[in-house]
Symmetry: C2
Subunit: 147 residues, 2 copies
Protein backbone atom coordinates (compact mmCIF):
# COMPACT_ATOMS: atom_id res chain seq x y z
CA UNK A 1 0.00 0.00 0.00
CA UNK A 2 1.10 3.51 -0.67
CA UNK A 3 1.69 5.15 2.66
CA UNK A 4 1.32 8.84 3.32
CA UNK A 5 4.80 9.99 4.29
CA UNK A 6 4.14 13.68 4.68
CA UNK A 7 4.53 13.71 8.45
CA UNK A 8 7.92 12.10 8.07
CA UNK A 9 8.71 14.61 5.32
CA UNK A 10 7.83 17.74 7.19
CA UNK A 11 9.73 16.57 10.25
CA UNK A 12 12.77 16.01 8.13
CA UNK A 13 12.37 19.45 6.60
CA UNK A 14 11.77 21.24 9.88
CA UNK A 15 14.78 19.67 11.54
CA UNK A 16 17.03 20.63 8.67
CA UNK A 17 15.66 24.15 8.86
CA UNK A 18 16.29 24.23 12.59
CA UNK A 19 19.97 23.43 11.97
CA UNK A 20 20.35 26.58 9.88
CA UNK A 21 20.44 30.29 10.38
CA UNK A 22 18.99 31.58 7.13
CA UNK A 23 15.97 30.38 5.20
CA UNK A 24 16.06 27.28 3.01
CA UNK A 25 14.62 27.26 -0.47
CA UNK A 26 12.16 24.64 -1.67
CA UNK A 27 14.87 23.40 -3.95
CA UNK A 28 17.31 22.84 -1.12
CA UNK A 29 14.70 21.08 0.97
CA UNK A 30 13.66 18.97 -1.99
CA UNK A 31 17.26 17.95 -2.54
CA UNK A 32 17.76 16.78 1.01
CA UNK A 33 14.48 14.92 1.04
CA UNK A 34 14.88 13.41 -2.41
CA UNK A 35 11.65 14.85 -3.68
CA UNK A 36 10.35 17.66 -5.86
CA UNK A 37 10.31 21.37 -4.94
CA UNK A 38 6.63 21.66 -5.77
CA UNK A 39 5.84 18.86 -3.37
CA UNK A 40 7.78 20.75 -0.72
CA UNK A 41 5.80 23.93 -1.35
CA UNK A 42 2.53 22.07 -1.29
CA UNK A 43 3.24 20.41 2.01
CA UNK A 44 4.99 23.30 3.71
CA UNK A 45 2.14 25.51 2.59
CA UNK A 46 -0.08 23.72 5.08
CA UNK A 47 2.38 24.44 7.85
CA UNK A 48 2.48 28.07 6.80
CA UNK A 49 -1.29 28.36 7.10
CA UNK A 50 -0.94 27.05 10.64
CA UNK A 51 1.71 29.67 11.41
CA UNK A 52 4.47 27.13 11.96
CA UNK A 53 6.71 28.37 9.19
CA UNK A 54 6.98 31.47 7.07
CA UNK A 55 7.94 31.76 3.43
CA UNK A 56 9.42 34.61 1.47
CA UNK A 57 9.63 35.02 -2.26
CA UNK A 58 12.41 36.38 -4.36
CA UNK A 59 16.16 36.33 -3.82
CA UNK A 60 17.11 35.47 -0.25
CA UNK A 61 13.66 33.97 0.02
CA UNK A 62 12.73 30.52 1.22
CA UNK A 63 11.33 28.86 4.28
CA UNK A 64 12.06 29.39 7.94
CA UNK A 65 10.55 28.19 11.15
CA UNK A 66 8.37 30.67 13.00
CA UNK A 67 7.40 28.62 16.01
CA UNK A 68 9.06 27.47 19.18
CA UNK A 69 10.44 23.98 18.62
CA UNK A 70 9.50 22.96 22.12
CA UNK A 71 5.89 23.99 21.58
CA UNK A 72 5.17 22.00 18.45
CA UNK A 73 4.15 18.39 18.88
CA UNK A 74 4.02 15.70 16.23
CA UNK A 75 0.32 15.43 16.85
CA UNK A 76 -0.11 19.07 15.99
CA UNK A 77 1.75 18.48 12.74
CA UNK A 78 -0.46 15.52 11.97
CA UNK A 79 -3.49 17.73 12.45
CA UNK A 80 -1.96 20.47 10.35
CA UNK A 81 -1.56 18.00 7.52
CA UNK A 82 -5.30 17.46 7.60
CA UNK A 83 -5.38 14.43 9.90
CA UNK A 84 -4.89 11.91 7.14
CA UNK A 85 -6.20 8.40 7.71
CA UNK A 86 -3.95 6.52 10.08
CA UNK A 87 -4.97 2.98 9.25
CA UNK A 88 -4.57 1.02 6.07
CA UNK A 89 -7.18 -1.46 7.25
CA UNK A 90 -10.82 -0.63 7.54
CA UNK A 91 -14.43 -1.59 7.25
CA UNK A 92 -15.97 -2.47 3.97
CA UNK A 93 -18.97 -0.19 4.44
CA UNK A 94 -19.14 2.54 7.01
CA UNK A 95 -22.92 2.52 7.56
CA UNK A 96 -24.15 -0.98 6.83
CA UNK A 97 -27.76 -2.05 7.17
CA UNK A 98 -26.75 -5.66 7.72
CA UNK A 99 -26.70 -6.52 11.41
CA UNK A 100 -23.82 -8.92 10.95
CA UNK A 101 -21.75 -6.16 9.46
CA UNK A 102 -22.79 -3.80 12.22
CA UNK A 103 -21.46 -6.21 14.80
CA UNK A 104 -18.22 -6.62 12.88
CA UNK A 105 -17.78 -2.90 12.43
CA UNK A 106 -18.45 -2.17 16.06
CA UNK A 107 -15.75 -4.57 17.19
CA UNK A 108 -13.18 -3.37 14.68
CA UNK A 109 -13.96 0.29 15.18
CA UNK A 110 -13.46 -0.09 18.90
CA UNK A 111 -10.08 -1.72 18.56
CA UNK A 112 -8.88 0.75 16.00
CA UNK A 113 -10.17 3.72 17.95
CA UNK A 114 -8.18 2.61 20.96
CA UNK A 115 -5.00 2.20 18.97
CA UNK A 116 -5.54 5.56 17.34
CA UNK A 117 -6.02 7.24 20.68
CA UNK A 118 -2.79 5.77 21.96
CA UNK A 119 -0.90 6.81 18.87
CA UNK A 120 -2.20 10.37 18.98
CA UNK A 121 -1.39 10.61 22.66
CA UNK A 122 2.14 9.47 21.92
CA UNK A 123 2.53 11.93 19.10
CA UNK A 124 1.22 14.62 21.41
CA UNK A 125 4.11 13.99 23.79
CA UNK A 126 6.88 14.40 21.26
CA UNK A 127 7.98 17.90 20.30
CA UNK A 128 10.25 19.11 17.55
CA UNK A 129 12.72 20.06 20.26
CA UNK A 130 12.85 16.41 21.36
CA UNK A 131 13.69 15.31 17.86
CA UNK A 132 16.28 18.04 17.46
CA UNK A 133 17.90 16.90 20.71
CA UNK A 134 17.89 13.30 19.52
CA UNK A 135 19.52 14.41 16.30
CA UNK A 136 22.25 16.24 18.22
CA UNK A 137 22.89 13.14 20.26
CA UNK A 138 23.26 11.05 17.12
CA UNK A 139 25.44 13.69 15.55
CA UNK A 140 27.76 13.78 18.53
CA UNK A 141 27.92 10.01 18.57
CA UNK A 142 28.78 9.30 14.98
CA UNK A 143 30.81 11.42 12.62
CA UNK A 144 28.98 10.81 9.37
CA UNK A 145 27.60 12.72 6.36
CA UNK A 146 24.07 14.05 6.60
CA UNK A 147 21.70 14.76 3.72
Amino acid sequence: MKRDSRLSSVLHALLHMAEREGPMTSEELAACMHTHPVVVRRTMGLLREAGLVRSARGPQGGWRISADLAAVTLRQLHETLGEPAIFAIGNRQEMPGCLVEQAVNAALDDAFAEAEALLLARLGQITLADLAADFSRRHAGRRQGNT
Copy 2:
Protein backbone atom coordinates in the same frame (compact mmCIF):
# COMPACT_ATOMS: atom_id res chain seq x y z
CA MET B 1 -5.70 5.90 0.54
CA LYS B 2 -7.21 2.63 -0.36
CA ARG B 3 -7.84 0.62 2.75
CA ASP B 4 -7.58 -3.15 2.92
CA SER B 5 -11.03 -4.35 3.97
CA ARG B 6 -10.43 -8.08 3.88
CA LEU B 7 -10.51 -8.57 7.63
CA SER B 8 -13.90 -6.90 7.72
CA SER B 9 -14.94 -9.02 4.75
CA VAL B 10 -13.98 -12.39 6.13
CA LEU B 11 -15.60 -11.60 9.45
CA HIS B 12 -18.78 -10.74 7.65
CA ALA B 13 -18.59 -13.96 5.68
CA LEU B 14 -17.76 -16.17 8.64
CA LEU B 15 -20.60 -14.81 10.72
CA HIS B 16 -23.07 -15.37 7.94
CA MET B 17 -21.78 -18.90 7.56
CA ALA B 18 -22.12 -19.46 11.27
CA GLU B 19 -25.80 -18.55 11.05
CA ARG B 20 -26.43 -21.39 8.59
CA GLU B 21 -26.57 -25.11 8.63
CA GLY B 22 -25.39 -26.00 5.14
CA PRO B 23 -22.50 -24.59 3.14
CA MET B 24 -22.68 -21.23 1.39
CA THR B 25 -21.49 -20.77 -2.16
CA SER B 26 -19.06 -18.06 -3.20
CA GLU B 27 -21.92 -16.49 -5.09
CA GLU B 28 -24.12 -16.27 -2.02
CA LEU B 29 -21.33 -14.84 0.06
CA ALA B 30 -20.46 -12.37 -2.67
CA ALA B 31 -24.08 -11.25 -2.82
CA CYS B 32 -24.30 -10.54 0.88
CA MET B 33 -20.97 -8.74 0.90
CA HIS B 34 -21.59 -6.80 -2.30
CA THR B 35 -18.49 -8.08 -3.98
CA HIS B 36 -17.41 -10.60 -6.60
CA PRO B 37 -17.41 -14.40 -6.18
CA VAL B 38 -13.81 -14.63 -7.30
CA VAL B 39 -12.79 -12.17 -4.62
CA VAL B 40 -14.56 -14.38 -2.09
CA ARG B 41 -12.72 -17.48 -3.27
CA ARG B 42 -9.41 -15.70 -3.23
CA THR B 43 -9.84 -14.42 0.29
CA MET B 44 -11.51 -17.50 1.74
CA GLY B 45 -8.78 -19.56 0.13
CA LEU B 46 -6.35 -18.12 2.65
CA LEU B 47 -8.62 -19.18 5.49
CA ARG B 48 -8.87 -22.64 4.01
CA GLU B 49 -5.08 -22.98 3.97
CA ALA B 50 -5.15 -22.13 7.66
CA GLY B 51 -7.77 -24.81 8.31
CA LEU B 52 -10.44 -22.35 9.37
CA VAL B 53 -12.91 -23.21 6.63
CA ARG B 54 -13.39 -26.01 4.16
CA SER B 55 -14.63 -25.80 0.60
CA ALA B 56 -16.30 -28.37 -1.60
CA ARG B 57 -16.78 -28.28 -5.34
CA GLY B 58 -19.73 -29.30 -7.40
CA PRO B 59 -23.43 -29.21 -6.61
CA GLN B 60 -24.14 -28.87 -2.90
CA GLY B 61 -20.64 -27.51 -2.63
CA GLY B 62 -19.56 -24.26 -1.06
CA TRP B 63 -17.89 -23.02 2.08
CA ARG B 64 -18.36 -24.01 5.69
CA ILE B 65 -16.58 -23.23 8.91
CA SER B 66 -14.32 -25.95 10.25
CA ALA B 67 -13.08 -24.32 13.42
CA ASP B 68 -14.45 -23.57 16.84
CA LEU B 69 -15.79 -20.01 16.83
CA ALA B 70 -14.57 -19.47 20.35
CA ALA B 71 -11.04 -20.44 19.41
CA VAL B 72 -10.51 -18.08 16.50
CA THR B 73 -9.38 -14.54 17.30
CA LEU B 74 -9.42 -11.55 15.02
CA ARG B 75 -5.67 -11.39 15.36
CA GLN B 76 -5.39 -14.91 14.01
CA LEU B 77 -7.49 -13.89 11.03
CA HIS B 78 -5.28 -10.86 10.47
CA GLU B 79 -2.27 -13.14 10.42
CA THR B 80 -4.01 -15.57 8.13
CA LEU B 81 -4.59 -12.76 5.68
CA GLY B 82 -0.85 -12.25 5.53
CA GLU B 83 -0.52 -9.55 8.18
CA PRO B 84 -1.18 -6.69 5.81
CA ALA B 85 0.26 -3.28 6.69
CA ILE B 86 -1.75 -1.69 9.47
CA PHE B 87 -0.76 1.92 9.00
CA ALA B 88 -1.43 4.26 6.15
CA ILE B 89 1.26 6.62 7.41
CA GLY B 90 4.92 5.83 7.33
CA ASN B 91 8.49 6.90 6.90
CA ARG B 92 9.76 8.22 3.66
CA GLN B 93 12.80 5.94 3.60
CA GLU B 94 13.19 2.90 5.78
CA MET B 95 17.00 2.92 6.02
CA PRO B 96 18.15 6.51 5.66
CA GLY B 97 21.76 7.59 5.86
CA CYS B 98 20.76 11.09 6.93
CA LEU B 99 21.00 11.48 10.71
CA VAL B 100 18.06 13.86 10.77
CA GLU B 101 15.91 11.28 9.11
CA GLN B 102 17.17 8.60 11.44
CA ALA B 103 16.02 10.64 14.42
CA VAL B 104 12.65 11.24 12.81
CA ASN B 105 12.20 7.60 11.93
CA ALA B 106 13.16 6.42 15.37
CA ALA B 107 10.53 8.60 16.99
CA LEU B 108 7.78 7.69 14.57
CA ASP B 109 8.62 4.01 14.51
CA ASP B 110 8.42 3.88 18.28
CA ALA B 111 5.01 5.49 18.43
CA PHE B 112 3.63 3.35 15.66
CA ALA B 113 5.06 0.16 17.10
CA GLU B 114 3.31 0.85 20.38
CA ALA B 115 -0.01 1.48 18.72
CA GLU B 116 0.39 -1.64 16.63
CA ALA B 117 1.12 -3.74 19.68
CA LEU B 118 -1.99 -2.45 21.39
CA LEU B 119 -4.13 -3.08 18.36
CA LEU B 120 -2.89 -6.63 17.90
CA ALA B 121 -3.41 -7.35 21.57
CA ARG B 122 -6.97 -6.10 21.28
CA LEU B 123 -7.63 -8.19 18.21
CA GLY B 124 -6.20 -11.16 20.03
CA GLN B 125 -8.87 -10.81 22.70
CA ILE B 126 -11.85 -10.87 20.39
CA THR B 127 -13.11 -14.21 19.09
CA LEU B 128 -15.59 -15.05 16.39
CA ALA B 129 -17.87 -16.32 19.15
CA ASP B 130 -17.83 -12.86 20.70
CA LEU B 131 -18.93 -11.31 17.44
CA ALA B 132 -21.61 -13.93 16.92
CA ALA B 133 -22.94 -13.20 20.39
CA ASP B 134 -22.95 -9.49 19.67
CA PHE B 135 -24.84 -10.15 16.49
CA SER B 136 -27.46 -12.19 18.36
CA ARG B 137 -27.87 -9.39 20.82
CA ARG B 138 -28.45 -6.89 18.03
CA HIS B 139 -30.80 -9.29 16.33
CA ALA B 140 -32.88 -9.72 19.43
CA GLY B 141 -32.92 -5.98 19.97
CA ARG B 142 -34.06 -4.78 16.57
CA ARG B 143 -36.34 -6.54 14.14
CA GLN B 144 -34.74 -5.57 10.84
CA GLY B 145 -33.63 -7.06 7.51
CA ASN B 146 -30.15 -8.50 7.32
CA THR B 147 -28.03 -8.88 4.20
